[in-house]
């Protein structure tokens, strides 16, 4: 689904990503870990076709992302920090807007069904301004599942979610994967990341310091490896 080779990105003189390569088959989930400023969000935005890398090659769903970013964007459902929510619209109106904009089914019945799926049907007609961060994330997830995108890109999806919300999100992502969907997420929640990811990549200062499958990787071990790498105590 994703093949990236030698991705590099700078803003002015600041190098944000340096020679990042990754490969992720369809139906798998990749968790991007790393401290603040590691380049996780920039990498996610490059994968979405929102930011053009300074160097490297990227194919998403068989499409050359640098030549045809519009074709890549059509395959992507993204929930960024802000979740693309209009504060003065209700949850239902937000979904209707993005549904029509995406050329998707925005019928009342479908919107109701999507709101039920993210457990927001009780507040469907309340303005998003009154929602917590976790509720806005759920609304963002309802938006990206209005259609059938093959790739979900989620920027810190566990942030702001309570325990029930985190459990719900894990189940939601596992079901999405089981249906053949691919997920790339950034997270500081190692437990949540490990619960859904098949592979973890640890980024620091724009470089990939660790890339390994999660099979057999315990949470304690991940914490230990992360601390060792990020604190510069050595690489495993």
């Amino acid at each position: 689904m994703i093949e990236a080779t030698g991705l590099r990105k700078s803003y002015g003189t600041t190098l944000v990503l340096d020679d990042v390569s990754l490969a992720l088959p369809a139906g798998r989930c990749l968790a991007l870990l790393g401290p603040n400023g590691a380049g996780k969000t920039t990498l996610l935005r490059i994968l979405a076709g929102l930011v053009r890398p300074g160097a490297g090659r990227l194919r998403v769903g068989g499409v050359d992302a640098l030549r045809d970013p519009d074709a890549v964007r059509a395959q992507v459902g993204m929930v960024a920090h802000g979740s693309f929510v209009y504060e003065d619209l209700t949850a239902r109106e937000n979904l209707r807007f993005w549904g029509v904009m995406g050329g998707l089914d925005a019928s009342p019945a479908h919107l109701r069904e999507r709101l039920q799926a993210v457990e927001l049907e009780a507040v469907a007609d309340e303005r998003a301004r009154t929602f917590s961060a976790g509720m806005k994330r759920r609304l963002g997830l309802a938006r990206v599942t209005l259609g059938r995108v093959p790739l979900l890109l989620l920027d810190e999806p566990f942030t702001g979610l309570d325990r029930h919300g985190q459990k719900w999100l894990v189940e939601f992502l596992l079901a999405f994967k089981a249906a053949g969907g691919t997920v790339v997420l950034t997270t500081h929640s190692f437990g949540g990341g490990l619960a859904v990811a098949d592979r973890v990549i640890l980024l620091a200062s724009g470089r990939v310091l660790l890339d390994r499958p999660t099979a057999g990787l315990a949470l304690d071990e991940l914490h230990r490896v992360y601390d060792a790498i990020v604190e510069g105590a050595g690489t495993p």
Binding site: R73, V85, E87, D88, W98, V100, M101
Partner: protein
């Protein structure tokens, strides 16, 4: 084509709904219009001849200043919660977003202009009803000219820190042909002359509107991605 029209319509619907609920632009614009009227009243005094000579310019000064305030804010909501990126990720021709935004701006500006006109009529004891038709034509063309470029430049400057400064600096020089033609045509109409006497100015106005509209449609996707 139907999908394009639906996307244009939903952007218009969303912007008007957000404006109706937040009332951010309308409240500020109406207060601003009232303030201008009081200022003009004090500056010009009771001399009616002087007032009538200055009225077309004052009217458009009010419209342009109110337009600068309103248009400048038209993309602020898109910057909140990363909605700008959401728009970039939507498929299809992005000019539908531009046309939806333009239509919403025209509706808001039209409402503010109607209020300003009524207040002008009341404040300065002017009969605007008898010239309502020709004046409406001039206002419609002038407002379109202001909004086409204003919507594009509002998008261009939305992500810039000094957008309140940069927006008018970019917009006003480009608006010279529109302002020249609208003020002149308004002067002719308010003097009670037939609309045909303002035909040359209206042709210039219509031409500028068309050019600005085409430029907006063709360049909006680039502006959105930049």
């Amino acid at each position: 084509m139907i999908a394009y029209a639906r996307r244009t319509w939903i952007v218009l619907w969303k912007d008007l709904l957000v404006e109706r609920r937040s009332k951010e632009s309308l409240n500020a614009l109406l207060f601003f219009a009232l303030l201008l009227l009081f200022l003009f009243q004090f500056a010009l005094g009771p001399d009616r001849e002087r007032l009538h000579a200055a009225l077309p310019g004052l009217l458009w000064l009010g419209f342009v200043l109110a337009g600068l305030l309103g248009l400048g804010r038209s993309f602020v909501a898109e910057r909140d919660n990363d909605c700008w990126d959401g728009l970039r990720l939507t498929p299809g021709d992005k000019s539908a977003i531009y046309l939806g935004k333009l239509a919403a701006n025209l509706v808001v500006m039209g409402a503010v202009e109607a209020v300003i006109l009524v207040l002008f009529g009341l404040f300065y004891n002017m009969d605007l009803v008898s010239v309502a038709g020709p004046l409406g034509v001039v206002l419609a063309l002038g407002t379109l000219g202001l909004a086409t470029v204003g919507t594009l430049f509002a998008a261009l400057t939305a992500g810039v820190r000094a957008r309140e400064l940069l927006f008018p600096v970019l917009l006003l020089p480009v608006q010279v042909p529109v302002l020249l033609a609208t003020v002149s045509a308004t002067q002719i109409v308010l003097a009670g002359q037939p609309l045909v006497d303002a035909a040359a100015w209206l042709r210039l106005l219509a031409g500028a509107d068309l050019v600005y509209l085409v430029i907006g449609i063709l360049t909006f996707e680039f502006v959105l991605d930049t």
